[in-house]
């Protein structure tokens, strides 16, 4: 993937970086500029979103050969399609003739046909039809396939990566078995509800919010706090050195129903999970893919920046396959219960959304400054450090390193 821009110098000044890198309880937060500047944003795009695995949905979004979904990762359009062999493939959504975007939204095709001059591509991205190119010299259709994009299926999630050299996603998250993600049967579950939000906040505010419990009594006083009080949240910063974190609202088991009881099939293997990880395990794989498995349902999050101060948030709710099928068939009781679950999701999601937008408004102030972390924000500190390390360090080739920064002076 071509570089959008390569940061010419440190995005965060060395002082601010040093302050962030101190132990959590001694550290300062990321400077507010990191949440609003174009430069920080471009550095994150280039070094994080063009390099890391992004969740673009679930395998059930494309059940049949030819079913496709399209996605935009900042500037890069990606098509995910189930090919004729039944496998998912990802291609860049760019015609190889003269660059037209190939498809829009989701749908089902037998072949992709460019709306501009009609080049036709097979589901595996191979150029199958280029009308009137017989006379064009040295033109070999085999050289004009759609650009392939890395794709992996993981527990039913569809992960893509714009970086051809990225390590496989499976390897990056192999340690999730330590807290038992593999015991919930997430791969057997099916999406019943989806939400998409266009939020006026920097994407990092949302990840920090997702991974810290400090806000729960205030932001979720009527929703989550009674169910999962802050004091029962435990962070596990040292569970793995892989690029993810876990905070668990401990309890014998949680679900999304009004009364707290599971209504759908519960995976038997949950019994094998060590008690400290039971309850509401809130997992975030950086940069922006979150999974929260519960007794009989799962929530998943995927965020993409739309700009320095704008973020697209996608959330899905999974139910066990039987329940999802009953839901799809319109079974009254299933629909009622699933509706109840979904209402409860919306209850706390809108609270998180609103507070992140509100925080962003504050961060816009010229006088906004770095803050501090408390003991409930250890993972937010960890995440901020990961971002700073990954995106804000000067370019490895050193061009212009140390020539200044947008923040930290």
């Amino acid at each position: 993937m071509e570089a959008l821009t390569e940061p010419r110098h440190a995005v965060v000044g060395s002082e601010a970086l040093a302050a962030l890198q101190r132990p959590a309880l001694e550290a300062s937060t990321l400077p507010p500029e990191c949440y609003r500047s174009e430069e920080a944003y471009l550095a994150e795009v280039e070094r994080i979103f063009f390099k890391e695995w992004i969740c673009v949905g679930r395998v059930e979004d494309m059940p049949q050969p030819g079913d496709f979904t399209s996605h935009t990762i900042v500037s890069e359009g990606v098509i995910v399609v189930r090919n004729g062999e039944g496998e998912l493939r990802a291609h860049l959504n760019v015609c190889r003739h003269r660059g037209c975007e190939l498809v829009n939204g989701n749908g089902s095709v037998k072949a992709f046909r460019c709306p501009y001059h009609g080049w036709m591509y097979g589901l595996n991205g191979e150029l199958r039809g280029a009308p009137d190119f017989k006379e064009t010299l040295h033109f070999d259709k085999a050289e004009y396939s759609l650009h392939p994009i890395r794709l992996e299926e993981w527990n039913g999630f569809v992960m893509v990566n714009l970086d051809d050299d990225a390590a496989p996603f499976h390897e990056r998250v192999s340690h999730v078995t330590r807290w038992g993600l593999d015991k919930y049967g997430v791969d057997e579950q099916v999406t019943t509800h989806r939400w998409t939000y266009d939020l006026e906040c920097n994407w990092k505010t949302y990840i920090e919010n997702y991974i810290e419990e400090y806000h729960v009594p205030w932001v979720h006083s009527d929703t989550l706090q009674p169910l999962t009080p802050m004091k029962r949240h435990v962070e596990f910063p040292d569970l793995s050195d892989q690029q993810w974190d876990l905070v668990v609202a401990q309890s014998p088991g949680l679900t999304l129903s009004d009364d707290g009881d599971a209504n759908f099939a519960v995976s038997e293997r949950i019994q094998e999970i060590s008690p400290e990880y039971l309850g509401l395990p809130i997992w975030m794989c950086y940069p922006s893919f979150g999974v929260i498995p519960m007794l009989d349902c799962t929530l998943y999050y995927s965020l993409l920046p739309l700009g320095p101060e704008r973020t697209e948030l996608k959330i899905g709710m999974l139910l066990p396959r039987d329940a999802a099928e009953a839901f799809a068939a319109g079974d009254e009781e299933t629909c009622r219960i699933a509706g109840e679950y979904a209402r409860n999701v919306e209850g706390f999601v809108v609270e998180d959304n609103a507070i992140c937008v509100q925080q962003q408004r504050g961060l816009r102030s010229r006088k906004a400054d770095t803050g501090r972390f408390c003991k409930h924000e250890g993972l937010a500190w960890k995440f901020d450090n990961w971002v700073a390390r990954t995106a804000y360090a000067p370019a490895a080739n050193g061009n212009g390193a140390g020539n200044g920064s947008v923040a930290g002076h």
Binding site: P63, Q64, P65, G66, N83, G84, E85, G86, K110, A111, R113, G118, M120, G122, L123, N124, E126, R128, G129, A130, P131, F133, K134
Partner: protein, 368 residues
């Protein structure tokens, strides 16, 4: 293989995917394409017959489309091809739509000099589109197959596909393509309601006679109405065969048609029927068969009746390109097999000079 044996295979098969027909389409068909697209089916590759290595799209019949909708298919539909013909070393990948070099290598190995190429069911299904889009698809096919044959136009021979519902267009298509050395014959798709002796059809016969191209009649959209014996006796009875010296070959017909065909040629019959046997003797009516067994009764009968009435068509890559023993015997004996493989009147099509029309009283009466 002795040098003087020029083995001609009158029935090689190709199967361009709809993507390739689209690529070779003219602007008119491209305009129709969004409508045409609804008639396409995602199709599985067919291992063992030189097919695509991943799924592709093809034209499907209404019935196939309905079935696939009913099945709510999670996998592509199978190709409308016969099952793979066992492990045939001759079949290189992508032979059906590409890789003419691989086909030529197969011809070399089998000692086959020329092969006429015909499309199968996936093109015929396009005829269910209205006449205009169907003509667009046939024109696209003709462009495609001629580019396929460019690899060696002396050996890979295109059978043009034209539409009986549009004789004027068909005549133009034949005349336009004739200069191409690869073009060797013509298949006329006959809609049910079209009679091939009607006045507006004459332009098509004229074009065929002028160019010396023969008609290769294979089962297709018109198979139900125009089986070989029906078409032959109709054309004889109506005087078409008498008026235009166009040779006709019947290729790709499922087993079992040779017996009634031999029967028909042999039976004592009214004048038109007699003429039919005469046409066969003159090499004007040619039965193309995959089987070349000397003990085959129907073949022996045909051979006795009209020594130039049988030719060989392999059905490759669905059938074996050439059985070694058949070729060996053909070399050694001057019998039916040798004639069918190497000395049939189509070996050097298009004919340098058009076949002479056979005038019989009955035929002359037919077109009045």
């Amino acid at each position: 293989m002795s040098d003087d044996l020029r083995v001609a295979d009158l029935h090689g098969c190709v199967a361009p995917a709809a993507e390739l027909l689209y690529e070779h389409s003219g602007p008119q068909l491209r305009g129709y394409w969004p409508h045409v697209e609804e008639r396409l089916l995602l199709t599985s590759p067919t291992p063992g017959v030189g097919d695509w290595d991943s799924s592709y799209v093809r034209f499907a019949t209404r019935r196939e489309l309905e079935r696939s909708r009913r099945d709510d298919a999670r996998t592509p539909t199978p190709a409308p091809f016969p099952p793979a013909s066992g492990a045939d070393a001759d079949v290189e990948p992508a032979l059906l739509h590409d890789n003419p070099a691989g086909r030529l290598r197969a011809l070399d190995r089998a000692g086959v000099a020329v092969q006429l190429l015909s499309p199968g069911a996936s093109l015929d299904a396009a005829l269910e589109l209205g006449v205009n889009p169907a003509v667009g698809v046939l024109a696209a096919y003709n462009r495609w197959v001629r580019s396929y044959c460019e690899a060696d136009p002396q050996r890979l021979k295109a059978v043009l596909q034209v539409h009986g519902g549009e004789p004027q267009w068909s005549a133009r298509e034949i005349r336009d393509a004739f200069a191409d050395p690869a073009v060797a014959a013509v298949t006329i798709h006959l809609p049910v309601k079209v009679a091939p002796d009607e006045r507006n059809f004459w332009a098509l016969w004229d074009a065929l006679e002028e160019t010396g191209l023969g008609v290769l009649h294979r089962p297709g959209a018109s198979a139900r109405v125009w089986r070989p014996h029906q078409l032959a006796s109709y054309l004889a009875r109506t005087g078409v065969l008498a008026r235009w010296g166009v040779p006709i070959a019947f290729a790709g017909w499922p087993d079992g048609w040779l017996e009634p065909w031999a029967e028909q040629l042999a039976a004592p019959a009214p004048a038109a029927r007699e003429a039919l046997a005469a046409y066969a003797q003159a090499g004007r009516l040619l039965a193309v068969t995959e089987r070349l067994d000397e003990r085959d009764e129907a073949l022996a009968r045909l051979d006795a009746l009209a020594p130039r009435a049988v030719a060989w068509g392999s059905g490759f890559p669905f059938g074996p390109l050439a059985r070694a023993d058949a070729l060996r015997r053909a070399r050694e004996h001057d019998g039916l097999q040798r004639r069918a493989l190497a000395e049939n009147p189509w070996t050097y099509l298009p004919a340098a000079a058009p076949a002479a029309p056979l005038k019989t009283p009955a035929a002359a009466a037919g077109l009045q």
